[in-house]
Symmetry: C2
Subunit: 214 residues, 2 copies
């Protein structure tokens, strides 16, 4: 928690859970809340896995390990500060050996770093978080990174831009695979205003990224 | 999974997790994915807690029980089909006894039903999911439900509309409590385009809700 001058701020947040709670209801809000319990750094990169020194976290139960995962049609790779860790070789190895049998791979935010480090984005067009673009290029020097993109599709690999872009990318994926009506129905039920144009990207502009493939 | 004619559709989705993964990266996309594995019903209500017969779920570890929860400044109540269950009395009782010592209560989507059933919304202005408005009125007959609202603030209670509205409401909360710069920084880092007007609500129109307090 932040130090002096912030003693009036709320410190202890509770997230009330019960069977069949709505995941996005819980995690959408917890994201912004978690990121404000300490001063939000404007630094684009930080060596620590928890630069905001947040006390928040949600632990989920994995249902399978890398060793016993069943055959998958779709693999979704989230991002997060955890992608900066240096002990993720088993993760990269799992992605590398799983990819050939997938129908689709979807990455969100710096989840594309995991795919890049697994080597499966080499020579492909892809995108990532716009706040950490320099690191993105470093992580995947052989990838054709697209700076201005809410998401990018290259073959069966869907990569999306930072955090919330994953919702637009996944809805576009739903539209492609399950149809437009499904995608629009879901967006309506979620009360989510979709960005349907994969080129929509005001954030690339904010971070002064180049217009062309980088 | 849906029946005939959909055998070509991907069935087995994997969500790859690792320490310090980004919650919204994972749960934003998993939400739409979960809701499309079966045909999405346009029925506003369903007696079952899993009307879409989805195989998806994320289990999180609670850190506390209703009996041993520490004093809280903020309580966040997500919605979800689970709010339709009839065995939630301990949940309502917890909310009822916790509310007086909170600085703020935030509900997302049908999380407002939990607050309403706990009795703490009586006589207050509040909002909820727009797809289940008839049920909302039934659940909280003494609440001044506001149909056209992305979110509503009444005293220290922030209620938001369906699912993704929770992000706008929470960012507005962050702005109120932590300042505009914090809220905008978080939105930028999340690459999220905020709706900053609490009256913005195209979904109320889609569901033909009345213009005034209902």
């Amino acid at each position: 928690m932040a130090g002096e001058g912030s003693s009036h701020l709320p410190k202890s947040y509770g997230l009330l859970v019960f069977p069949t709670f709505q995941a996005l209801d819980a995690f959408g809000p917890m994201d912004p809340v978690a990121e404000t319990l300490d001063p939000v750094s404007t630094k684009p990169r930080d060596p620590s896995l928890n630069p905001l020194r947040s006390d928040f976290g949600q632990s989920i139960f994995p249902t399978h390990t890398f060793a016993n995962a069943p055959p998958l049609d779709v693999l979704i790779i989230p991002g997060g500060y955890g992608t900066r860790a240096d002990d993720l070789d088993p993760l990269y190895e799992f992605v590398r050996r799983t990819y050939p049998s997938l129908k689709y791979l979807i990455t969100v935010c710096t989840g594309s770093w995991v795919a890049a480090r697994a080597g499966i984005l080499d020579g492909r067009r892809a995108t990532s978080n716009k706040n950490a673009w320099a690191m993105t290029k470093e992580v995947g020097p052989k990838v054709n990174w697209v700076p201005y993109a809410r998401w990018v599709v290259d073959g069966n690999i869907w990569t999306s831009s930072g955090v919330s872009a994953g919702m637009d990318a996944t809805l576009a994926f739903v539209q492609e695979v399950y149809g437009e009506e499904q995608a629009n129905t879901i967006a309506r039920v979620m009360e989510y205003e979709r960005h349907e144009d994969s080129h929509w990207d005001p954030f690339a502009k904010i971070y002064n990224l180049p217009e062309d493939v980088d």
